[in-house]
């Protein structure tokens, strides 16, 4: 199982063994990771699952495009280069070790 690491603003890290095909948002919600809310259920409609993808995984994950790109402007935390809605990141074997920072404002 690929592992996803969620890093809180205070540096606390949670590593979760994720199911391939699930989203980074759903994995977090199911395991109660603070700060990833996913109010709309993964529909790109609420921007409450905003995360910062660490630079070393940014190329693998890819950037936000189209609708997601616009929705990120609704997020409570500032946008940065690695900003993504985690509901739009599907977990694959290649993403093993994926590390995302959870914005302080969402926690």
């Amino acid at each position: 199982m690929p592992k996803v690491r969620y890093v809180a603003a205070d540096g606390t890290e949670r590593g979760i063994d994720a199911e391939v095909g699930d989203s980074v948002m759903q994995t977090a919600v199911w395991h109660g990771v603070p700060g990833i809310i996913g109010e709309c259920g993964g529909n790109r409609s609420c921007a409450t699952c905003h995360v910062y993808v660490r630079e070393e995984y940014a190329a693998l994950v890819g950037p936000a495009v189209d609708l997601e790109d616009d929705m990120l402007d609704l997020a409570v935390a500032e946008r940065r280069p690695g900003s993504r809605l985690s509901c739009q990141i599907r977990i694959t074997e290649e993403l093993d070790g994926l590390t995302v920072d959870v914005p302080a404002e969402q926690q």
Partner: protein
């Protein structure tokens, strides 16, 4: 919590996150683990294979939330003084309570015409309903599907069925689609979208009877037309489930009446979600039923905070969405009472801004996310976007927000900074911090 839908789950989780140490019991009438409903008429119906379950069983265990499934509450005795209240369930057991949250949701409004009980007549509210309907809309052998009601649910089902190749007719009693929810220009936009994809639409005509023998054969319209039909899907609104509230003597007016803090007319009972009517979330006026997941979640958080003795304050901009084909309709605010609109149309995208006087009330945006985001932020900041500045669809709305009430012009020794719409001030999660 009586009712294990989105509101009930959110309330239970919020109680724990708020530090509540007592027993938390979530009573659900359905046999399934608590799940989200919006996909039932969208992706799940289309077979996208996504998960509906809100939280895994381990989550509830870890948070000390007891989840009862397949249990209906059939009677109740209210809390009196120091004596706890009691809920009586359909399996004969009694659940004592000190505080009660009613999150019973709503059921589909029945068509109530002759023949409405025929096999082949479907409603859509539960995952079981969606599973049954999924088998029908996915089957190439399914004949004509008549969708009764041109609201969100009906049109989403029509879109899924048509995308899967079925023949679909939508019947709407009003002269346009989604009449209670959107402006005529949005109705027309969606009518065009459905027609272009081969859906037949009958407007301004109701259904007076359903005919068949061992199953549905025809749908009879008020203009006398008889439409051949293998299947009818009825989406004519919802009816809040208020029986429990009524039995407890709570105030009910088209929904359980709650105040801005989620309190019912009984001091130890809160309510949230589709079963309630609450003051307008932005103006505090009247009593409105939001009929949406974001509304249910926001109300549940407020109600939980009230139970914890820490009432939440802060604006909550209502928002909604509907997916039909590749069209994403996003709504922020409530358009009721508008007297002016600005229409921003550019090709296959559309946004309508709704105003009362200079006050911005709402936006309905189709594939125009930036417009939706800009208005939602403005509403959260209690700002407006002057109509005159918003008319050109090529001009981004971001940055156009202005205070609703301009500061006095003279004398003005200090120019107050214009409140800039900050990101998502409406989210109650922030107010909790």
């Amino acid at each position: 919590m009586v009712g294990a839908g989105q509101a009930g789950v959110e309330l239970a989780v919020s109680l724990r996150q708020g530090g509540y140490q007592g027993t938390v019991t979530l009573v659900g009438a359905e046999s399934h683990a608590p799940y989200q409903r919006p996909p039932l008429s969208k992706g799940y119906l289309a077979g996208d294979g996504g998960t509906l379950t809100l939280r895994p069983a381990e989550f509830y265990r870890a948070h000390g939330i007891e989840v009862l499934r397949g249990v209906s509450v059939v009677g109740a005795v209210p809390v009196v003084g120091a004596d706890p209240g009691h809920l009586v369930t359909d399996d004969g057991t009694t659940i004592a309570y000190d505080r009660l949250a009613i999150t019973t949701g709503a059921g589909p409004r029945r068509l109530d015409v002759p023949g409405d009980g025929l096999p082949g007549v479907h409603y859509l509210r539960t995952v079981d309903d969606s599973d049954r309907l999924r088998a029908i809309v996915a089957a190439p052998g399914t004949g004509r599907i008549v969708v009764v009601g041109g609201g969100f649910i009906g049109l989403e089902v029509a879109a899924v069925a048509r995308t899967l190749g079925r023949r679909v007719t939508v019947v709407e009693a009003a002269p346009r689609l989604m009449p209670r929810a959107v402006a005529p220009v949005v109705s027309d936009f969606y009518a065009e979208a459905h027609l272009r994809r081969g859906v037949e639409i009958r407007l301004g005509t109701g259904v007076v009877a359903l005919h068949g023998d061992d199953r549905l054969r025809e749908v009879e319209l008020s203009d006398g037309t008889r439409l051949p039909a293998d299947v009818a899907v009825v989406g004519v609104g919802i009816v809040p489930r208020t029986e429990l509230a009524t039995s407890l003597g709570l105030r009910v007016e088209g929904g359980i009446v709650v105040d801005a803090a989620g309190r019912t007319s009984d001091a130890v009972t809160v309510a949230a979600g589709d079963c309630v009517v609450a003051p307008h979330p932005l103006t505090g006026d009247g009593l409105v039923r939001l009929e949406s997941v974001p509304g249910a979640v926001a109300q549940a958080r407020v109600a939980a905070a009230t139970l914890l003795g820490r009432p939440l304050r802060g604006p909550a901009v209502p928002w909604f969405w509907s997916d039909q084909y590749d069209l994403k309709l996003q709504i922020a605010g409530l358009a009721d009472g508008h007297d002016a609109t600005v229409v921003r149309r550019d090709g296959d995208t559309l946004a309508v801004l709704y105003y009362r006087g200079e006050t911005l009330l709402a936006v309905h945006a189709v594939n125009r996310v930036a417009d939706y985001v800009a208005v939602r932020k403005a509403l959260a900041a209690r700002a407006t976007i002057p109509a005159a500045s918003a008319t050109d669809p090529a001009t981004p709305l971001a940055g156009l927000a202005r205070p609703v009430t301009p500061a006095p012009v003279t004398p003005a020794p200090v120019t107050p900074a214009a409140p800039v719409a900050r990101a998502a001030d409406d989210l109650l999660t922030r107010a909790e911090q």
